[in-house]
């Protein structure tokens, strides 16, 4: 049996050899926005650090780290999946189940204080061509080594400029299974990151904008 720690936190700090935490961070992320007018000319360009990942990002990245099962002989999900994402075991499948997920970029016109438990944007801009809406293109994802590039585009098909003040990376988790009556998915939506722009981004009428979120695990 191990004895409890026999030293306090201050003593542990003195024992730490080496402490390389001041070194170059092992993770970097930034957000890039480009705005184009109706003729396709770029009229605004932003790049800023991504500052705000949520607890749902941690829970999602736990899947490749520790798997989905709480143990080798268990049929229950890990505590992180159950307690953070609210997922439970599929209870009515006739055979096996699997889990997959997609990512999307969402923009909004509000602002709010960040919390790791945030579940959505303050004022998400809806997909559409009505007043105040933007048409979202499919989010594309590419990667190079330990870096992931998430690219989304929106078009303003209205007759007025639309201001974007917030951006989020969202995730939809799908659990696929077969409850004897055919293919079924259960889907769950989560906010992986939330950031606000230092100044609003204005997308002119008939203009468009691209938003790229870059996540790099490499220092």
């Amino acid at each position: 049996m191990l004895t409890p720690d026999l030293v306090n936190e201050e003593d542990i700090d003195k024992l730490i050899i080496p402490d390389d935490l001041p070194d170059e961070p092992a993770f970097k992320a930034y957000i890039e926005a480009k705005v184009y007018d109706k003729e396709g000319h770029i009229i605004d360009y932003r790049r800023q650090p991504m500052r705000s990942l949520t607890q749902y990002f941690l829970a999602l990245m736990s899947i490749p780290l520790i798997g989905t099962y709480s143990g080798g002989s268990s049929n229950s999900p890990t505590g992180l999946l159950a307690n953070v994402l609210g997922l439970s075991a599929v209870s009515n499948t006739a055979w096996s189940a699997d889990i997959v997920w997609t990512w999307s970029i969402q923009v909004g016109s509000g602002t709010q204080a960040f919390s790791p438990t945030l579940t959505g944007l303050a004022a998400p801009i809806l997909n559409g061509s009505q007043a105040g809406q933007l048409v979202y293109s499919t989010t594309a994802v590419s990667n190079t080594g330990s870096s992931v590039f998430v690219l989304g585009a929106v078009s303003n098909n209205t007759s007025s400029a639309i201001s974007v003040t917030e951006i989020g990376l969202t995730c939809t988790v799908y659990i696929q299974y077969w409850p004897s009556s055919g293919y079924t998915t259960s889907s769950y939506n989560f906010l992986l990151s939330y950031d606000t722009f230092s100044t609003a981004i204005s997308i002119p009428a008939s203009g468009m904008a691209t938003f790229q979120i870059v996540i790099s695990f490499t220092g």
Binding site: I17, L65, S96
Partner: protein, 237 residues
């Protein structure tokens, strides 16, 4: 709409918070802490360092379906014995499914993806991203050069404190030999099953290295001593 070339547009506004790459504020941090105790349980060393290295296996499993749809490619996953699997999940849409994803807990089958262990070793390798096994893993046991592996544990939930949040993976090892054992590398090993929904034929892919670090200095576990390694994954540290 046609998009003009960026280089021809000179009226580009660059905000003050567009930093150089090296000045980014980290929003995610992973570090490992190793606590060494002697045979009496007294802490004799604490080692802490940044964890730098998800492996290619981790990246392939972490990428969303968008990547697989955008590229139309599979991502090659390699297990610790060098076996490979071309992972290419999908929203299958058919029963029985034909496109395997990561197995998920259910009432019918147990094809478990689960944390096997934090593994320690006595070697090093220069390209952690491409690593699929430790260079020189230390076996579980009480023979010469071996360590007795405890059971790994994982936080049951994410701990939130202000704008920060984290979870921890931890495992303890004991040196039941009569000699000191040096640790120079650490990795996280997860057992993988791939299966299509509604399909009875899973692929038991076995143990897979998903995270790997070489230590900035070797850690010596004395005879009769213990080593506890904790990986902490934090957002907004």
């Amino acid at each position: 709409m046609m998009v003009g070339k960026d280089v021809s547009d000179i009226s580009v506004k660059v905000p003050e918070d567009a930093h150089d790459t090296g000045k980014y504020i980290p929003t995610f941090s992973a570090y490992l802490t190793a606590i060494v105790r002697d045979s009496t349980g007294r802490v004799i060393r604490v080692h802490r360092q940044r964890s730098h290295s998800p492996t290619a296996n981790f990246m392939g499993l972490f990428l969303p379906l968008n990547w697989y749809v955008s590229t139309g490619q599979a991502f090659r996953i390699t297990n610790v014995t060098g076996g490979t699997y071309n992972y290419q999940p999908s929203l299958d849409g058919t029963i029985p499914g034909t496109i395997p994803g990561i197995s998920y807990p259910n009432n019918k089958t147990i094809y478990p993806n689960y944390l096997v262990m934090i593994q320690v070793g006595s070697g090093t390798q220069s390209n952690p991203y491409n690593a699929y096994s430790l260079a020189s893993p230390i076996a579980n046991g009480s023979g010469a050069g071996q360590l007795v592996y405890g059971t790994p544990s994982v936080s049951n939930t994410v701990t939130v404190s202000g704008s920060s949040a984290y979870f921890v993976i931890e495992q303890t090892f004991s040196n039941q030999t009569s000699s000191t054992i040096d640790i120079t590398e650490v990795g996280i090993i997860t057992h993988l099953y791939f299966v299509a929904a509604g399909n009875q034929s899973p692929t038991d892919f076995g143990n897979t290295l998903v995270w790997y670090d070489t230590l900035s200095s070797a850690i010596s576990v004395p005879a009769g001593g213990y080593l506890t390694i904790a990986y902490t994954f934090t957002v907004n540290p």
